[in-house]
């Protein structure tokens, strides 16, 4: 997927609100009040001062979310020591099932530098809207439900400004180039 399609994808949710060009420049990101996987309160201020990579998903997601989390383990390793200056955050858009405890247990399977944020549905919704993340609950026949959700990773600079996305399924060289650019800023 190219950058334009990706930004268009991100804009799905906010397309009616603002032109795509403006989205790329300024409108992604904003305040939130959530809790991390240890139950500690977190806000946008906790991410400032370092660049961040933020993505949204849910723990019932069978492929895209674990793949992104596994990829992040690999990318952090490739980044070397610089990776310790990067915030990596997995935000649940399924807070009904993804309690802090669930996020904590789930994230033990991945790089321990990855943080998990969840919270009240209203606060998750506020953060998703701020990041122009599309998500929607879809019932499944057996009584469970899936979550449609934007699968991109959002790269933010140390001042909390959106820089660029990493699309799902990119080969490693593109995300690594983006992450190295981000860390060099």
């Amino acid at each position: 997927m190219n950058r334009r399609q990706l930004i268009a994808g991100i804009a799905l949710f906010g397309a009616a609100l603002a032109p795509v060009r403006a989205l790329a420049a300024a409108a992604i990101g904003g305040p939130f009040r959530l809790v991390d996987q240890f139950g500690h309160p977190v806000s946008e201020r906790d991410l400032l001062g370092r660049p961040s990579a933020i993505f949204f998903g849910y723990t019932l997601c069978p492929e895209v979310c674990p793949t992104t989390l596994v990829s992040f383990g690999r990318w952090l390793k490739k980044l070397g020591p610089a990776a310790n200056r990067l915030n990596v955050v997995f935000v649940s858009i399924d807070p009904g099932r993804d309690t802090p405890r669930q996020m904590r247990d789930y994230l033990t399977s991945f790089d321990q530098r990855i943080r998990g944020f969840t919270g009240s549905p209203a606060e998750v919704d506020r953060m998703a809207k701020a990041y122009r993340v599309y998500y929607r609950k879809v019932p499944l026949p057996g009584g469970s439900y899936a979550m449609d959700h934007s699968a991109a990773v959002y790269l933010m600079d140390a001042a909390g400004r959106f820089v660029e996305p990493i699309g799902y399924g990119e080969t490693d060289d593109m995300p690594m180039a983006s992450l190295r650019r981000l860390m060099g800023r």
Binding site: A8, P62, E63, S109, L140, S150, T171
Partner: protein, 304 residues
Amino acid sequence: MRRFASRAAVGAALLVASAAQAHITLTPATAEAGHSFAGAFRVGHGCAGSATKGIRVVLPPAVTSARPQAKPGWTIKVEHAVGPEGKDRVAAIVWSGGLVPDDEYDDFGVMLGLPAKAGPVFIPVVQTCEAGESRWDEIPSPGTSLHSLKRPAAVVEVIAPPPLAVIGGIEVREGWVRAAPNSAPAAAAYLVLHNGSKQADRLVSVSTPAAARAELHNMRMDGGVMRMRALEHGLDLPAGGDAALAPGGNHVMLFGPAAPLEPGGKVELTLVFEHAGRVTVTLPVRSADDSGGGGGEHHHGGMR
């Protein structure tokens, strides 16, 4: 869609083996798709009578991983390159510092990750001798016999494993379960179905003792949005055709795994077809790809 090895392909593999016997060969000459290959490059003679003092094996990108076996008296160098998906791959292995007299043979052991697809994998070898070198790097063009080549590359024939099950002409192949992260409320299982019968069929439902519930699902990326839906009418299986449940698309969704799904584990899955009836297969649990977007140690095609 994948084609499976026919008897003709197996015959071709045998031909390949005998043709290459006089040169540098891979032994064994065949490998089962989806399993890692442990074998050796066999050096049967020197270069026109001169003793062999080294070989250099050049691995094509189709070889997903490679590890040489330690060899006393020899120095081994592994050369890396950037492979598909931008990840590191082994591009060549060089053995040097030893000596194989012209009238003796020796084996140079390797473990290779081979493609999941059936077919030959050609591996060029440069043999360095006390006097001169021999380049075993000719690869037959399609339709050409290996016999016609003077300096054939080493070759291993990847053979599709036997189906996991056959019922009413439907073959079940390439089944595996993606290892689930800790406390993951669900996991995905994959398999490929080939309907060898003249009647169209349909995979209607799936059940397993390994999870609270199994459903047939599809997932797709739609403008950057991941969407997962139930295949409410099952999965169509045209007469003579294939249907795949594979990463990036259709899957069996296992809700509420009864025990952690860890690599090395096994999952029994019962498939119910509209016409062919039901059949139970046992699938291995494999780690989700952790090597860079493709392959992983089991060559299941990775996650894209």
